[in-house]
Symmetry: C2
Subunit: 649 residues, 2 copies
């Protein structure tokens, strides 16, 4: 099957360790009768996490989110709710106020918007007394009407950039900028610009900083939309990256109050050798760097077809994104034989200045100091040709990571410096069942260190945030609450071999305290610590194996049963049971290999007596590391005489 | 996930019974060191099955294929093999003679072709002495060079129609007719005609019989090819139905020695409501009827993407196929902006006579008695427009059957008349793992009666044939042998309830012999037989249940274990275990539900004693049919005194 091929071809990875929710120390926050904790905002200077939920905003302690500093309830007045119900929306869900915008405006205020019973409304939240200033502003174009519709937003220098729907029906998609000083700047309402988009992310890239040619900062948007350029049996979805310039003021006549800099391109995440396409993007994380050219964009994708939970992570260099937008060919829409619309590459020479480019020094020299001065030809061209033909290709031309039987919903990435000073990207992906996966990008492979059950119930993680300070915590928002998780669980590894085989860049074995420690939190001497991201556990100090005389003795009556537990932590290890050094095969009729590798013997007879050992065999760094995990001595509980006879034999 | 949706939306079906290879009586044929038994030909008049394998042709007894009547070995001479190896092909596989054509020429001869070390060769096999006439004929265009390439062929009135590759490299696909009296008639070498096709089937439909307008017989071809009309990230596969007219002689100037009647259309098998497309056709079976309009075409499909073993069966009415070919719109290729090729609907008026149509009475009246007289305009048009825009849609606009976790490779369909005279289509589908599924199309549903393991090893069934005489046997060819299987296993059902719940139109309960019998083989009085395809087992005569006093007694020592077998034949039944009429839940720590529904009790204590019953509950015809399948009395084997005490209590 193709799935098998995909999973054997791609950089697929099984999490080495699996932690259940009650295996690890997680902190939670939720309040009775409050739902949809999906809008999270970290403020590390203040040491707080802001949470936007349904009809509530909370300020939580960043180090322990179960501590609530402040709260604000923001309900919908009865009259607005009645209007909403009259329009056919549901009282229980739709006609409530879902907080979807939570942005830092200045040191003393947050800007907050809610769906407010399908009548989006915004206000200012004073951080001093945690109250609204009650300067209610129309939220149209800033926040969605429908709490279940896709939505993204980012605040840049006091201006709010959104990707949402502009009408009650949700049928008019819009990418817009709301500014206190200017009128709303927006996309054209045309399927060439946006065609049933699902917005997933937006952020600013400060390309203007120290730009020699006076280039502008850009806001990048990520979404999945219905393709116009391909033809298919049905609707073909396609992942997109779009951008606008921060300094855009719209056109003077053409594109008045519309973006003059809106361009979009296809975001490719595929395995060309297998003709397999991941064509739905679910979330994006931008791993920023001191210089914008070194920025890396990470996305999580699934496929539109035969979706059985194959998820992929693709990474993109910001420099190649920049190249596509500043030099890529445009596509044009052509009418063929009167009645057919087709999109093809535009082969002619586009007008100058380049349509969709930001204003730079060269334009300024030609007396075009803002988009208002751009010539009509350039504006008309970009209005009709918002789509670039050149795609944005992933680093390495394929996915960084492919995971089977999982639907990733969110992604966050951290740069981590290992003990040997090498720097690794650690990818955190969240699933639709409430799990978190942590994967390390190593030289030629991706290693998935662990999966952690963050949510008690099987529900999607809808928001995932990383603290930047000390890289200590992750915050996951879902419909039923917020969870705070450490980024590593080093103390879970009880031996040096386990600590090294985990291949977790956060963890190292401290030879002095004889513990697996988090290198970012431990005060131990780094020279006394052992870490090897290839997993070469051969560098660990030798330990004396469990002595046979210390094996627990099990006395079992003939015909009775015995349960021999064996807890192997690694999903990558093979588990073998031996009886008196002979490998046991599970074809024997009176023994069963149970879950978690324990052995059940039933109808025990004389021949079952002996020394049982549970072995774990794990391969890493080209070697096999074998260990006895548990050992037992099974003896039959016979009447005195019989056992005495046997002893004599 | 989508897969879940597809399987819950579609007419998906789990086989009710599963038969392992050694559960049933199958007959096999294979010879040492001979492989690839994939070309099968039934001759029911002679009572034989011809088998073409690698370097061998066999004549087997149709009633017992383990009896070999005749054999012919046809090896490749050393010189030809050396040439083949020189050209870079493998000695062990490629450079052998794979028999791929085995067709009845006349009463005394078969026409046989083999790949013959990448130099296809044909010859005549005399049935009298089972020897080749040694009139070796060039097999180019009749048989494939490459034994692993797709290939199809059919003999019609002494002329051989093939779908294959015309060159050594396998890069030039061809649909051709070889005739003793005329030169080869073939397709143009153009991607508009054939674009990397995988041929699966070809057969003649006698549309000319009693045709009032003097229409011709047609040969229909089925294949999957790379789409030209859709655009996609990569290659998009598309299933096709193509046809040519039997009387086609090619054109006079235009299309000389080429088909003047080659047209093709898209064969749709999709679930439009889910935007899910099965776009790869693997095999086709034509269920013929006295009048060609009543013919039904069955195809097995999978999808190109995320192929995790979702297979579909679609059915097409011959009359709608005819409609598409005789009235459908054509597609045309257009060049857009100099450099792009696009396919769009041709909206103009096509020339007359209709391009691609067969010669009929009207043409003859206009002095066009053969394709040689067709006007250049018609011929040029059909050369450039071989593709129709209108698709061939399945009956009911969707699949007849969808099966999960299975890749179907072959299909055969039989019309079966049940005891109540109703006629049902029984669909036999073969898998890539050597299994056979048998499904009955009932009024509003499809019921999969059984799955049968035909092959010992997990390998694909590559050919599937049904005997038409008495509908008794199925023949399945694979790389390692041929298997003969009955079409029904009625005797497997031991009770009337089981026989009726099976819902097998071949089977009925004979109340006189008290056995489930094959209605086509039994001589019993049909009025004494019970059959109900809805599965209403309530019509069965009441049977006295197993008496508790007949339950086997199990004496178990305290702490020992007990294994209570229960064999439930139906995969659709729910199995419940009861202890003293109380339902047992599998959360109890000392009992395990094993494979095949048996119960394992271990560490038995006093409270485990009692009456155990294994119940099967199966729903059919809107009712639940519950039965005790096995019962046991479990008693503890205690020292005398203790048990005596207990008895007194």
């Amino acid at each position: 099957g193709l799935l098998l091929e995909v999973s054997t071809h791609g950089p697929s990875s099984v999490p080495r360790s699996s932690w259940k929710q009650n295996d690890v120390d997680l902190l939670e926050f939720w309040e009775p009768d409050v739902f949809n904790y999906t809008t999270l905002l970290l403020n590390e200077d203040r040491g707080v996490l802001y949470v936007g939920a349904r009809e509530a905003v909370y300020e939580l302690n960043i180090s322990n989110i179960s501590i609530k500093n402040n709260q604000l309830l923001w309900k919908v007045p009865d009259i607005d709710m009645s209007m909403c119900i009259l329009k056919g929306k549901s009282k229980e869900t739709d006609c409530r106020n879902y907080i979807r915008v939570l942005q830092v405006l200045d040191e003393e205020h947050l800007y907050v918007c809610g769906t407010h019973a399908f009548q989006p409304l915004c206000d200012y939240l004073s951080l001093q007394d945690f109250r609204l200033l009650e300067k209610a502003e129309d939220g149209r174009g800033k926040c969605s009407y429908d709490p279940s519709q896709s939505f993204t937003t980012v605040m840049v220098d006091g201006e709010l950039y959104s990707g949402t729907a502009y009408n009650f029906l949700g049928s008019e998609p819009i990418i817009s900028r709301s500014s206190p000083s200017q009128s709303l700047l927006r996309t054209e309402y045309s399927t060439s610009w946006l065609n049933e988009p699902s917005f997933v992310f937006a952020d600013v890239i400060r390309e203007g900083q120290d730009s020699p040619d006076g280039d502008d900062d850009k806001i990048y948007y990520f979404f999945t939309e219905v393709s116009v350029e391909y033809e298919f049996f049905g609707k073909l979805l396609i992942p997109r990256i779009a951008r606008v310039c921060k300094g855009d003021l719209g056109g003077q006549r053409t594109l008045q109050k519309k973006w003059t800099s809106f361009l979009k391109a296809k975001l490719v995440c595929s395995m060309p050798e297998l003709n397999f396409v991941f064509n739905v993007v679910h979330d994006v994380f931008i791993l920023k760097a001191p210089h914008w050219r070194d920025t890396v964009i990470y996305g999580v994708f699934t496929s539109q077809w035969g979706n059985v939970g194959l998820s992929a992570v693709c990474a993109y260099n910001m420099s190649s994104v920049h190249e596509v937008f500043s030099r890529g060919k445009y596509m044009q829409k052509v009418t063929v034989e009167q009645s057919h619309t087709k999109w093809v590459r535009f082969n002619g020479a586009p007008p100058s200045p380049r349509p969709g480019a930001c204003i730079n020094n060269m334009n300024r020299q030609q007396n075009m100091s803002s988009s208002l001065h751009l010539p009509d030809k350039t504006l008309q061209f970009v209005r009709d040709h918002p789509l670039l033909e050149d795609p944005v290709l992933p680093i390495g031309n394929g996915p960084r990571l492919i995971t089977k039987d999982v639907n990733y919903t969110q992604i966050a990435v951290q740069r981590v410096q290992a003990l040997d000073n090498s720097i690794h990207h650690v990818i955190f992906t969240a699933t639709d069942k409430g799990f978190l996966h942590k994967s390390v990008v190593l030289e030629n492979e991706v290693h998935t260190v662990e999966e952690v059950q963050l949510l008690k119930n099987s529900e999607p993680i809808k928001t995932l945030l990383l603290s930047t300070d000390q890289a200590q915590f992750l915050y996951a928002g879902s419909d039923s609450g917020v969870v705070q998780s450490p980024t590593a669980f080093c103390q879970k590894y009880g031996s040096c071999v386990d600590c090294v085989l985990a291949r977790d860049p956060y963890c190292a074995w401290d030879t002095q305290s004889k513990a697996c420690v988090n290198i970012f939190q431990s005060k131990a001497d780094p020279r006394k610590m052992i870490q090897n991201l290839k997993g070469d556990a051969g560098i660990c100090p030798p330990v004396s194996p469990l002595a046979v005389k210390d094996y627990p003795l099990l006395l079992v009556k003939p015909g009775a049963s015995a349960d021999l537990p064996c807890r192997v932590q690694s999903n990558r290890a093979q588990v073998l049971w031996k009886l008196n050094n002979q490998l046991l095969s599970d074809s024997s009729s009176r023994l069963l290999l149970m879950s978690e590798s324990s052995l059940l013997l039933y109808s025990v007879t004389m021949e079952d007596a002996g020394r049982y050992e549970c072995w774990s065999v794990e391969s890493a760094a080209g070697q096999n590391f074998s260990r006895v995990v548990s050992g037992y001595i099974l003896r039959l509980d016979l009447p005195e005489s019989k056992s005495a006879q046997l002893t004599r034999e």
